[in-house]
């Protein structure tokens, strides 16, 4: 079983979703039951979930973002065609 410090350190070092199933289960069990670090680390886990979801959305263009203006595009195109030759 993990100690609070080990749980906090593990969550600091890596995303809990990328841990092995067994490690993830023990960690979540600790966070679920612990009166000391439970609330805090639940929020860390929630934040990791939220950021993972955000990264997934942005990778698939689901987040509205600023775009290059036409003059920026032209300048880049010119540069690329020079380099690509």
């Amino acid at each position: 079983m993990f100690t609070c410090k080990q749980v906090s350190k593990a969550l600091h070092k890596e995303d809990y979703a990328e841990m092995s199933t067994l490690r993830r289960c023990f960690l979540k069990l600790h966070v679920h039951l612990c009166v000391f670090c439970g609330k805090f680390n639940t929020q860390v886990i929630d934040s990791q979930d939220m950021c993972r979801c955000y990264k997934d959305k942005e990778a698939h263009d689901a987040v509205e973002r600023p775009k290059l203006n036409p003059s920026q595009k032209e300048a880049l195109k010119e540069l690329i065609s020079e380099q690509a030759e």
């Binding site: 609070c4 609330k39 990264k55 880049l76 690329i80």
Partner: protein, 197 residues
Amino acid sequence: MPEKKYSGAKVPITPPEQWVEQYGDYLYGFAMSRLRNPESAQDCVQDTLLAGIKALDRFDGSRDIKFWLRGIMRNKIVDQIRRSIKENKVDIEAEDEALLESFWFKYSGIATTNPDPWQFNPRKYYDNTEFWKVFETCIDEVKEPARQAFILRVLEDQTTDEVCKVLDITPNYLWVLLHRARQQLKVSLEARWKDSI
């Protein structure tokens, strides 16, 4: 222009001449969300595309070239942040130092046993595009250097060691910065999202 097959690639890929039109906005949007500065973002797109042309022979075609270019851009973003850190070195604040020295942190590796609960359940809004727009605005509001630490560690998936090296800080201080970033993000999201629902 027809798609060519470059040496090293298993599948036909978009020729570089079309990259700006096809991926320019996507890459620029990414760079803007990380760097907040239009000039740095444009430089970042330019460096990414040029690096992409140079490395095209090594592209194996196993994924969409858009994501391959995005992978190259990750290094360019780290480089930009490294440059800005050289100009403004990260200093540890007294409040953060006190947190690192506190009994609770040393004993359990956490800041407090009783953080304020969320005022709404963010999971409910994960499919709402508007929510992620607000989320991005809130990331922009996080103060430096916590924002840079959050971007490198959480959004750009750099390891703890890599981020500590870029920001020239200890792993413990990185923990504090990420904690501050999460706190500020939560406070901003609660304030802004509550207003928009």
